[in-house]
Symmetry: C2
Subunit: 371 residues, 2 copies
């Protein structure tokens, strides 16, 4: 990591060294509140996805506003949060291999831990470790609800797996994971509604067969920032796994919103400065591929629509400018990352600002926790 920090608490924003990952606390807190407001009075709880932020300071704020716990994607990521005192973590992923399962068992001694399965072999391996380590683990059946990634087919296959879990205490069949990842960035409300209707059908069918087998389906969990109102109002889901709502990727600007949709704000930025300004209609920034993930497109320049981030090299970003642009060497800009989650994973800390001051530095403690 960098041998020094981009800023200190109390610094003016103008003094933040670049590139740095900046969190606008006012916008972030409004996003937190909007999600809490949107779920209040509905039979769903937020289980915030911590893969977005990897930051215990943020998880604590989500829980303070009503989140039941968090999701993680990796057992090493979960360990960082359990070490930080978070006591209810769902690993929204399959864990394969004894090494990972032993780590999970160790965490299950200190927190309520859940994990997904989509194969009987995973259930048997989990059961063996849970027994040998003497720990209870919540196990969810992942149902393939349209995203064509992980998960068993809805219905019979899901019910069979639920039965297998229930027959292997100390595993505990906890419910269904019905996350439709691909739906989050579908562009029209109609496309998203159709996708989540399909997910609800898959969940409903699977639940009916599992209940017919005498098991309770305590939780049906899924949803993301792009679709969570659909799951909230489905009568099927009772947990919402949104993560990106706190930051808001640039890519979400391309989602058309319906009249009821909640408008979250961009709260996460890469602060970057001009390091080269030799051509009339171009400038080069100090933030490239290692400063902002480009898998969902180039970053946008915040509140400067006349500036276009054309392309990224490892450590450079090329901006296209109007011919008469006054943009000068050393000028700093705020970039809105195309995709926040992998961008956050490039940094060791969030420089948290309020107005024109640095208010806090929050460690991204689970950055790089890939195992």
């Amino acid at each position: 990591m960098a041998p020094w920090q981009a800023a200190q608490v109390g610094d003016p924003v103008s003094a933040i060294d670049t590139p740095a990952l900046v969190l606008d606390l006012d916008a972030f807190e409004r996003n937190l509140q909007r999600m809490a407001d949107a779920l209040r009075g509905h039979p769903v709880r937020l289980r915030a996805h911590a893969k977005s932020h990897k930051c215990p300071e943020i998880a604590r704020r989500q829980i303070a506003l009503g989140a039941i716990g968090i999701c993680c994607q990796k057992v090493s990521e979960a360990a960082v949060f359990v070490d930080a005192g978070i006591d209810d973590v769902l690993l929204t992923n399959q864990l394969v291999g004894t090494t990972k399962l032993l780590h999970l068992a160790e965490l299950a001694r200190r927190a309520r831990m859940g994990v997904l399965v989509d194969d009987p072999l995973q259930v048997l391996a989990l059961a063996e470790v849970a027994r040998s380590q003497g720990v209870a683990i919540d196990v969810y059946v992942e149902v393939e609800v349209g995203g064509r990634r992980c998960g068993v087919a809805p219905g019979t296959a899901a019910a069979r797996l639920a039965r297998l879990i229930a027959d292997h205490p100390p595993l505990r069949f906890a419910g269904l994971q019905c996350y439709h990842g691909a739906a989050q960035h579908q562009r029209t409300p109609l496309e998203r509604a159709q996708a989540i209707a399909q997910a609800c059908d898959a969940a409903t069918l699977s639940r009916a067969l599992i209940e017919a087998d005498g098991l309770q389906v305590e939780r049906i969990t899924g949803a993301g920032t792009g679709t969570f109102l659909l799951e909230r109002d489905s009568g099927v889901f009772n947990e919402i796994q949104a993560g990106s709502y706190i930051f808001m990727d640039r890519d979400y600007d391309d989602n058309q919103l319906g009249p009821q949709d909640v408008r979250f704000e961009h709260a996460l930025f890469v602060r970057s400065a001009v390091l080269s300004r030799t051509q009339p209609t171009r400038a080069v920034l100090d933030a490239g591929l290692k400063a902002s993930s480009v898998d969902s497109g180039m970053p946008a320049v915040w509140q400067r629509p006349e500036l276009k981030y054309l392309k990224a090299a490892d450590e450079h970003g090329v901006l296209e400018l109007p011919a008469n642009s006054p943009l000068a060497l050393g000028d700093a800009l705020m970039l809105v990352p195309g995709h926040c989650d992998p961008t956050v994973n490039l940094y060791d800390e969030l420089v948290c600002i309020r107005g024109d001051r640095v208010e806090a530095i929050w460690p991204i403690a689970a950055r790089g926790a890939l195992l």
Copy 2:
């Protein structure tokens, strides 16, 4: 970072937890040797680019085989290497802002430091800091040689900037940066030869005007893994900044090589395992966007041409398989990253293997050094 390591020295390769960044030491050492052999007896020295590896253990091996020093892209990255004892570092970048310049001055007390300029304002700011801090700094004029990024136009503009540097001791005019980044991945030998011929013309013209002004051009530096033989044989360049040759991106496989070109091997891999296997022609790996950079295309599956890495999500990679594939849950594969430099920047350590054993764990000490 992950609260535990992917492997320990002495582990069998089969025990490496996934995803992990793996360096095949035999292939890596052959690559080091091939570069040293290719430059021996030629009037050029290697100044290896450390942005690729960010690892002092590797820089030391490059210097032991004849490299004159290293390049870095960021002053915080350079600080990690100077702290590790590397005493000759060229920052192949413009540094803007007093904060960064003061860090550079501090390093210049302990190592020979070079930096690029392409604007008179940068020269004046450097001169002020060098004087106030009482340090000498090598300053190179970056010439725009065809890559359309940073750099002044060849010729008069370059000569003017060289003169300005020379007139501002303790700055020292050290030479010309003439790196053609875009040429490295041009696909045919003819395209690359034309690009580097243009770079040589730009360098030659600039040198002639600078010498006519009574200044010496000690170094003309540039080149990368894709073109370095052209610069080696140009009679113009005397430093080679190759970096990727030690690892070899998947993307370099698409470069057609000429009969004289040096064949480097893939030495860097992301070890990944199958975590879901529910569909006949698909499998899901535990390595996605946060484990392998996809800006230059998806990773390839090493020595398994029948397996195609179709797409990456944050923590998942989707593989397409032949219908009868025996690939099973938990099976581990080695992925060849599309682009090694940003992939290395996702990890805290290199798991170095020889044959089927883990021989060493090398810290990627400058990972995340963005400032």
